[in-house]
Every structure is written in C-alpha cells, then in structure tokens.
C-alpha cells in the first residue's frame, strides 16, 4: 500500500520537477563561457538525479523477494539513490588545472537551505520516534499489533515491529549518513573561481537543494509510511474490539482510538511535507550580476 502511495505521489512530483528545472533553465538570464557550462551541468545533474530516483522507485520493489520489506524501505532507498547520484555529480565536477591557480579567500556561501534542512531533520526524528514506538508496542512476531481485553483480543497487521523496523532503521540511518556526506561534498566542491562567485554560490546552493530535496522527501515518506501503518493497525484493532464486544471500553480504549487517528493525521501531514520538500525551489543560476570568466584553477592568462 505504502509503495503504491509513494509511486502515485512521487512519480508526478519528479516529472514536474524535471520539467520545471528545464523550463527555469531555458528562461534564465543568458550566460556565457564557464558560467553557462556550470549552469548546464547543474541542470543535467538535477535531471539525472531525478531519473535515478524514479528508476529506484520502479526497480527496487520488483528486484527481489521480501516485497513487504522492499516496500517499507522504498522511500529511503530511492532517496539514497538520489543523494548518491547528487554526490557523484559533485565529485566529478571540473578540478583546478594548469600551473597558475587562483582562489578567493572569501567564505563559502550558499549555506544549506534552512527550511529544507529542518524538514530533513523533522523526518529523521519522526522516523526514529515511530520506529522505537513500533518496536516497543508490536506483537512478539514483530509484524502485527495485538491487544487483549477482558473478554478476548484483537489483532491487525502489518505493524512496524522488529521485523520491519530493523531494515527501515538501517535504510534511514544510511540515508542520513549519506546525506551529511553528500552535503560535505557540495561544500568542498572546487569553486568556479573568483570571477564567477555569484554563479558559484547559486550552483552550490542548487546542489544543496538537490541533495536535500531527495533526502528530506525520502525521510518524511518513510515516517509517513510508518505512521500510516501504525495508525491503520491501531484504529483497526480498536474497531474490531468494539464490533466484537470484547469489553473494550474506558479511557484506554478512547486513547487508542485517538492515538490511531492522530497517527493517520500525522502521516497525512508528513506526506504533504514530503511533497513540499520534493518541490523545493532551487535558486536561479544566471543572476544578472553574474559575470563570465575562466573557471577556478584554470590557467590564468
């Protein structure tokens, strides 16, 4: 169910994002020489990472057995592919060459977009919280929720017990580490040169947005999947208990109903946040003040 949700939401988002990127690039101010080359490379990197993420969304669920685990880890794995592809784009950027090299002593600009970074950490923290809650409250089989009352019990699955939380936690942890590593690669990518500082700042910020878009959306959708699964299971157990009249009454039962509904609400909010993150606008590369010139590290005349 969650894989389908991710596909339904993310495929149009990725396609729209690719189209917007190309349209924005074609509408941007004209640039020449190295600045133009840098912008073209940035657009190509955005399109490539989008396609890589799309490919991961399609291939990962059908590339082996244990479909339920593949679906549970789908957002994190697709995001990981996006983040790693973005990092490769940074690592293969042109390096300084030639005997005479020039660098600016100014500080690196284009800090990570705070809002997007916040969404990423919110997604990570929510994922961690839900994984812990799921592991602690699941039935001993690690994949369902069971509750007993005076006159009987009720159960529902799937539920994120240890069977699901271990691989999801691993995927989320790898995604978090890969994101921090990729952001570091963006920061340490050689500058385009002192003559192209405005373009360099815009390209660097676009790279940060590219990494964080995928990472934040993946983390938020992972949390949304956990919330949706937990909320559905809790509400289902509560309804079954009420329908079978097995003595499910009182504040504990009401709390269960409210908790399940709250988790479903949280999942919906997380999905909306993931869409916001995936559509986060990158800065335009091609500001009017951007001069043209040689790449940093290239031969200085």
């Amino acid at each position: 169910m969650f894989g389908g949700l991710a596909l339904v939401l993310l495929v149009p988002v990725l396609v729209a994002l690719g189209a917007t990127t190309l349209l924005r690039a074609s509408a941007a101010a004209p640039l020449e020489g190295a600045a133009r080359k840098a912008r073209r490379r940035s657009v190509a990197a955005t399109v490539t990472t989008g396609l890589a993420g799309l490919a991961a969304l399609v291939v990962w669920p059908v590339s082996g057995s244990v479909l339920d685990l593949r679906v549970a880890t789908l957002p994190a794995v697709a995001a990981l592919v996006v983040v790693l592809t973005s990092a490769v784009a940074e690592l293969t950027w042109q390096r300084p060459s030639g005997a005479r090299r020039v660098a600016s002593l100014g500080a690196r600009r284009g800090r990570s977009p705070a809002g997007l970074l916040r969404l990423f950490w919110i997604g990570a923290a929510t994922t961690a919280g839900l994984l812990a809650a799921g592991a602690l409250t699941a039935a001993p089989d690690g994949r369902s929720l069971e509750r007993a009352w005076a006159a009987g019990g009720a159960g529902h699955g799937p539920y994120p017990g240890l069977h699901y939380t271990a691989p999801v936690a691993l995927a989320a942890a790898v995604l978090a580490l890969a994101t921090l590593w990729a952001l570091r690669r963006v920061e340490l990518r050689p500058s385009l040169g002192p003559d192209l500082l405005p373009v360099d700042h815009a390209v660097r910020r676009a790279s940060q947005v590219r990494v964080l878009r995928g990472a934040a959306a993946g983390m938020l959708l992972t949390a949304a999947g956990l919330g949706l699964t937990m909320g559905t299971a809790i509400v289902s157990v509560a309804r079954t208990a009420r329908a079978n009249d097995i003595g499910a009454t009182g504040p504990g039962y009401a709390l269960m109903q409210a908790g399940g509904s709250a988790l479903l609400g949280l999942a919906a909010a997380l999905v909306v946040s993931a869409i916001v993150a995936a559509c986060w606008p990158a800065p335009r590369i091609g500001a009017r003040e951007a001069p043209t010139g040689a790449l940093s590290g290239a031969e200085v005349p």
Binding site: R100, R101, V102, A103, L105, G106, L188, P190, G297
Partner: protein
C-alpha cells in the same frame, strides 16, 4: 573583507605552501585582512586551488606559528589580534617598491632577492 585572492604558481621555485603563507601574511600585514577575519577552511582552500590538503594545512600551521592567525575548533582559522603591521609607512614603501619592480619588468624572484640582499646588508 573584500574579494581577496590567492594565486599559486606551481611552476615557481617557491613551494606552494610558502606561496600561500606569504600571500596571506602579506594581506594581514597590509591590513587587507583584519583581526577576526575568517580564512577559508583548509579543505575548501585546497579544493579551490587544486592542492593537497596537507600543503594548505602546512601554510596555515606556519601562519599560526608566526602569530598571524589562530585556529579554534568552532571559529575556524581567524586573523589573530595584533598581527597587523603597525608600520604603515613601511607597508607603503613595500607597495611602492613592488609597483616599481613590476613596472621595471623584474620577476618576483628577482625582486625578492633584492629585498633579501638589502636586509642582509642592513643586518651586517
């Protein structure tokens, strides 16, 4: 801090770390880099210049040993207090000498050799 630049010539006889050290020290001495101004991280400057991290680290280490900069974990590498040249007149003389050397077609090495010779003479 305005747009200050460092140029490294790999074909020059002077090793790259010394070129970086000398230029940063010069910018501090002439007041173009002021107290508290932050230098790029070692890794960022090394990436921008296409040099090994150790090369820039050595330049920064020597600047720190010379009292020009201080490095702290959170603040990074910043220009140390009291590291600017107090002799403004001497800075101007040096700038004027450099201009005449360039106008006269002297190479950097030849111009510096002249200064070294003059310093030796003054100390003897």
């Amino acid at each position: 801090m305005t747009d200050l630049r460092i140029t490294v010539d790999l074909a020059a006889a002077e090793p790259p770390y010394e070129q970086v050290r000398a230029q940063v020290a010069g910018l501090i001495a002439t007041g173009q880099l002021g107290e508290g101004d932050r230098l790029p991280t070692v890794r960022a400057l090394a990436a921008d210049l296409g040099l090994a991290v150790n090369t820039v680290a050595r330049a920064y280490k020597e600047l720190e040993a010379g009292g020009h900069v201080t490095t702290r974990r959170r603040a990074g590498t910043v220009v140390a207090p009291g590291s600017q040249s107090t002799d403004v007149a001497l800075s101007r003389t040096a700038a004027a000498y450099a201009e005449r050397a360039v106008a006269g077609g002297l190479s950097d090495a030849a111009a510096i050799d002249l200064v070294r010779a003059a310093l030796r003479q003054a100390r003897s």
